[in-house]
Symmetry: C2
Subunit: 215 residues, 2 copies
Amino acid sequence: MRVLVPFDPRDPKSRLAPILAEDERREFARAMLTDVVETVRGTGVTPEVLVPTQIDVPGATTHVDDSPLSPAVNTLLDEISEPIAVIMADLPLVTQSACSRLFEATGDVVLARGMGGGTNALVTRHSDFEVDYHGASYLDHLETAERCGASVAELDSYRFGVDVDEPGDLPEILLHGSGRAYEWLQDAGFQLVTGDGRVTVKRTRSVNDVRTIET
Amino acid sequence: MRVLVPFDPRDPKSRLAPILAEDERREFARAMLTDVVETVRGTGVTPEVLVPTQIDVPGATTHVDDSPLSPAVNTLLDEISEPIAVIMADLPLVTQSACSRLFEATGDVVLARGMGGGTNALVTRHSDFEVDYHGASYLDHLETAERCGASVAELDSYRFGVDVDEPGDLPEILLHGSGRAYEWLQDAGFQLVTGDGRVTVKRTRSVNDVRTIET
């Protein structure tokens, strides 16, 4: 199994701008990438990070392609003849055990849904399968697999389902995470707030405050 | 395995009030309950619906207890000596296969997380385990199980993870559902809207419009 992890370091996690400054979003996105890389490495596979410009990713190799996400992934799907997994870089809840379920699921194509119709991870063992991450990509990928005549397994996983894009996603990391992204949020002063509905987060201090204290 | 499904028909799904009228919320909540009841029945178990006032639930038996949710569940956990599952009534994505994973997971206590720290489903085989659904109940239930000396299995399931409380949850039903709640939303004119981020829903007509046409 080869494992691709697409990552774009340019203006990462823009939907978190209401609560994180630009440098914070960059650090936080790297923390999530590191979590995914370390988790995949724990399964015995060296992940291959797909980036638009060369960056150093400890523990991973890189492919540089400045095409948009879907064509960049499809170029590699075309080039590689082995089974390939594509795992998003913003899945800090993913565990080795969840990865093993993904890799071991039986199907020409294995799909793991993300919140709001995304495809947070997939495996393809079918040479005609291509990705298109725009819109409700999960439904599109089901259709594409069917059109290829590929058998499909749908992975029922919460840990793959939670991609972190919006402020409302942060509680999930503090509730169920344990890696770098979890530590980053804690260090940045985020805490869980419980009430009658779903748990939310509040920030007790900003990173800038902390820096002020340190100087 | 006994299966409890708590359901409160009084002012159900109040957080959907911005987009559904009161009678619609009542119908929609019943549609979701029906989905859960039929799915559990498909696994060969007759669900036991826990209600504050007697209502008729086809395909299920009922327990009437007007105590708040947690004490009402705990009373039944005390009374029943067999393994018991407690499954929330607002989980329209749950399938028989997801239920089988829940029932077959090995542990004195099995927990399935919901978005925002909830516990959308659990199994207990330990006589000392009690529920408390307030706040970040998932973390509390982990602690309670540990305090009891119960072994814990955490079920990694997206289908159990999606409870439908807020307008932002409705796309998940149109994306991944197939039962009564899915049909109800379609009949009520809800459609998926795709864009750059997560999929959302729009309503092309209200139920009241349809009624006007029919008269």
